[in-house]
Amino acid sequence: MSTATTETVDAQAEAAVEEGEKREQTRLAALWSQHYDLVILPAIIVLLLVFLFLYVGTRQLDTIEQRVLAPANVGGLLWQQILLAGASTVLVLLIAVPLGIALSRRGARRVQGPVLAVGGFAQALPPFGVLLLMAFWLDFGFTTAVVGLTIAALLPVLRNTVVGLQQVDQSLIEAARGMGMTSRQTLFRVEIPLAVPVIVAGLRVALVLNVGTATLASYIGAGGLGELVQQALRLNRINVLLVAGGIIAALALLIDWLAGVVERIVVARSG
């Protein structure tokens, strides 16, 4: 009798363990099926870099190429690039997000339309041109580049924020007001929390734009990876050109991927 009971208990325990494993498996499977696309980009990046290394490894580099492609040189330019993009992104977010929220307030609704229209049209305004014009206005160098990058990315991010906030469920806001929240309370307890995904999306847009434009900062003497391209063109060195293009592409993809992962996490958190 007792043995039989133990057996049953054992069987139950086994079943429970199996059940748990199964659940774990299905959880992983669900996670995988939702986010399998996140693996694609790193795979592309790794492939790109492997290909580059293999290519450069098989080439006989001349002294000029060796100097330009020296890790210290490339690393320094990479760091400059990241600083440029990072600083301008922070600035863009500090300006565009509050402005976007302000524009979505009831009083400013009327300006929204024009902002969206101008913002849409401004996509045709080349960031390269904005950057160069800044150089005439201020001077060559890092600060000018950051200002130029910030200005160039401002309208797109602003537009993105306004569109995103428009999509925040109006009925929730109405419900909050209906429960007696003041408009301030509604803003901080309902609208901004709901808008967090929008803000993170804005971050991603700003980052991608700025990493791209920052490669052009070398034309106004602010360094960055564009310098590598410029040197390669000046020296007519194809190997350098390929390495430069590869590194820039890999960096941009990586940053976009990271921003994308952050975006997913934030969206998942905010339900």
């Binding site: 049209f121 045709a124 305004l125 080349p126 160069l132 920052a214 564009g226 050109l241 293009g245 993809l253």
Partner: protein
């Protein structure tokens, strides 16, 4: 000499570069849109049956993979793509057009897929119920109904291409970027600022021309029953 004087005295060169810019964008967007719309049409099937292996699986794979891949391409800075293509396709207009074409792919593909797949299910079901085959459904129901969304994708990608085409000057692609590079390399010299300013602002003029063009195309090609 003020800006207007500069424009007047260099009108020939400026006009030529503006036209070149317009054409490069037009060609790239044309090729890119044709590829994306065709691909979108080819791969916009429904959800594949999980129990049976069919062509739908390929289509779905190509669609999802294509979207992720072209989206990734769009984040690659233009200078990098120009640099990567230069050794293969050389200096000049070919490289400029190829790179621009690559940038147009994602937006149009995304809008094509979205437009085709969000057509009201009731409409598709009644089409099927009336005996429409798959191809007929795709071409006479889904495509016309998705067309406004697709066209908007082409419009947006055109605007983006106008600003990217400027960088094509780095590989000696034709267009307004030449004014920018000239200007910055002669910084301090007479009219260098005006040159850069003209190059930047004329992009907006090109954009305005395209906007008018799209407004007309919209009017002509969007079926009357779904015009807003």
């Amino acid at each position: 000499m003020n800006f207007l004087d500069y424009l007047a005295s260099n009108s020939q060169q400026i006009l030529f570069l503006t036209q070149a810019h317009f054409l490069v964008v037009l060609i790239a967007v044309g090729i890119g849109s044709a590829i994306s719309v065709a691909l979108g049409l080819a791969v916009s099937t429904g959800e594949p049956d999980p129990r049976r292996f069919s062509l739908d699986w390929f289509a779905t794979g190509i669609r999802e993979g294509g979207l992720v891949f072209t989206a990734a391409l769009l984040t690659v800075p233009s200078l990098a793509l120009f640099a990567l293509f230069l050794p293969i396709t050389g200096l000049g207009v070919t490289t400029a057009i190829i790179v621009l074409t690559i940038y147009t792919l994602y937006t149009v593909l995304r809008n094509t897929v979205a437009g085709l797949t969000t057509v009201d299910r009731a409409i598709l079901e009644s089409a099927r119920g009336l005996g429409y085959g798959r191809l007929r459904r795709l071409l006479t129901i889904q495509l016309p109904l998705a067309w406004p969304v697709i066209l908007n994708g082409i419009r947006v990608t055109t605007l983006i291409s106008i600003s990217i085409a400027v960088v094509g000057a780095v590989v000696q692609g034709p267009g307004l970027g030449i004014l920018l590079l000239n200007g910055i390399s002669r910084i301090g010299a007479a009219n260098s600022f005006y040159q850069v300013l003209a190059g930047t602002l004329l992009c907006l003029v090109v954009a305005a021309v395209f906007e008018i063009f799209f407004a007309i195309v919209q009017r002509l090609t969007i079926p009357r029953g779904i015009r807003v």
